[in-house]
């Protein structure tokens, strides 16, 4: 019933969208509209700024004694090299960094075989500095029969993605690559030929990786054949 929201309806809902409290069907329909309407997107963005300003009005309060050291202790635990608690995307990022480092260093396999996490992290940061990037991420590429590969992403200038596909498609097929952004826009990101011997595709993203919610490969029928969701690129949601 909300399939075709117009500007008037979306503007009615804009405050709730901006505050993140719009519900289900309404929200989805509004996001579809926003993907093609710069004016409504701007309104939602401005109202989001109002929400941010309101949060700043909360009164400050003195935390309990020792708070600071307990926070720093938790950070130290979380950052411990073999820590189980490291977030999933960081582990994925380490995998992506390993792949890039291996390629960049030539003898990368030896380096990686002997390096600890700290050294890997240093190398990771060095690679990011070279490319003026800020992080790598990766997400499983899901197809109709489950996991079909991996999408690696790089946040930098420009941001890019690399799709690697398991040998699940016997012959070459052409896909339109599409990005769904966190604010609901659908953007074209080129064309990929995958299948047969072609198991990887890479290309520039039309937006920052941090703005990407999902990367999709659309088949000839325009439907999503494969998709990868970047679930932790932004804490704003």
């Amino acid at each position: 019933m909300n399939a075709d929201m117009g500007c008037a309806q979306v503007r009615e809902l804009a405050p709730e969208l901006a505050l993140g409290i719009a519900e289900g069907g309404e929200r989805a329909a509004a996001l579809r509209h926003l993907s093609g309407c710069a004016g409504c997107r701007r309104l939602v963005s401005e109202l989001s700024s109002v929400g941010d300003e309101l949060l700043l009005l909360a009164p400050a309060a003195e935390p309990p004694p020792g708070f600071e050291s307990r926070v720093l202790g938790r950070l130290a635990d979380a950052a411990r090299p073999r820590g189980i608690q490291r977030p999933r995307w960081r582990r994925w990022a380490a995998v992506a960094a390993a792949a890039v480092l291996a390629a960049a260093l030539g003898g990368g396999s030896v380096f990686l075989a002997t390096a600890g996490d700290r050294r890997l992290a240093d190398g990771y940061q060095a690679v990011l500095r070279q490319g003026e990037g800020s992080f790598f991420a990766a997400a499983p590429l899901q197809g109709p029969r489950g996991r079909a590969g991996t999408v690696f992403g790089y946040q930098g200038q420009p941001s890019w993605a690399m799709v690697t596909l398991r040998p699940t498609i016997p012959a070459e097929r052409r896909f339109r690559v599409q990005v769904l952004t966190r604010d609901g826009r659908y953007l074209a990101a080129g064309e990929a030929v995958l299948g047969g011997d072609k198991t990887a595709w890479g290309g520039q993203l039309p937006v920052d990786l941090s703005a990407v919610h999902e990367l999709r490969l659309l088949g000839a029928d325009g439907r999503t054949a494969f998709a990868a969701t970047f679930d932790a690129a932004s804490p704003w949601d």
Binding site: R42, S48, L55, P59, F67, V71, R74, A76
Partner: protein, 196 residues
């Protein structure tokens, strides 16, 4: 990440770093930057988590978790989308809401959230932002009470219009109108240009 000793002397360099630089330092695992970042924002983060949860133990847990999430996601911070303070408080708000037991909301006067405490602890390096922080206080105070209540419930507790409607036994359309009217009035106070 090595643990910086609590209360250690902050270097002038650290103290003078911008919020964005400190966040970058936190994200890269710099213990001095992490300590300064926590010190700079702990009052505000704890104040917000305490306002939402109203339990000091739960508020501390939420505040700690907020800083851990800030560290995890530091690299994804985008200055074009808002200040570090707003970004961090959004995280703290979301963490706090998730810790509210089973989304049950105790209908205490939500305006308590906005009560100005007699003593606001100083936050080093952010004095210049105090004025910004007050930008909406007066306009918010001038809103009709029902609009202000709906807005506070939505902003600080993440309640949907439907949930506010059920909580206050007010028609859904009325709640939506209240939120919308309040937001549009405040938007005009921020002097953002009309999009038309």
């Amino acid at each position: 990440m090595p643990v910086a000793e609590e209360g250690c002397t902050e270097t002038g360099t650290m103290r003078n770093l911008s919020d964005e630089s400190l966040l970058a330092g936190l994200g890269s695992g710099d213990p001095d930057a992490a300590a300064t970042f926590v010190r700079r924002f702990q009052h505000r983060v704890f104040g917000l988590t305490l306002s939402v949860l109203r339990d000091r133990g739960a508020a501390e847990e939420a505040a700690q978790e907020s800083f851990v999430r800030a560290w995890r996601h530091a690299s994804a911070y985008d200055p074009r989308r808002g200040t570090v303070a707003a970004w961090l408080l959004t995280i703290a708000r979301n963490v706090s809401i998730n810790m509210l037991p089973a989304r049950r909301f105790d209908p205490v006067d939500p305006e308590a959230v906005l009560a100005v405490e007699a003593q606001r602890p100083p936050e080093r390096g952010t004095e210049a932002r105090v004025e910004d922080r007050e930008l909406l206080r007066e306009p918010l105070a001038q809103l009709p009470a029902d609009q202000r209540r709906a807005l506070v419930l939505a902003v600080f507790y993440g309640l949907t219009a439907r949930e506010i409607s059920e909580l206050d036994d007010v028609p859904l359309g009325t709640v939506k109108t209240r939120i919308r009217s309040a937001m549009l009035k405040l938007r005009s106070q921020l002097r953002v240009p009309d999009e038309r």
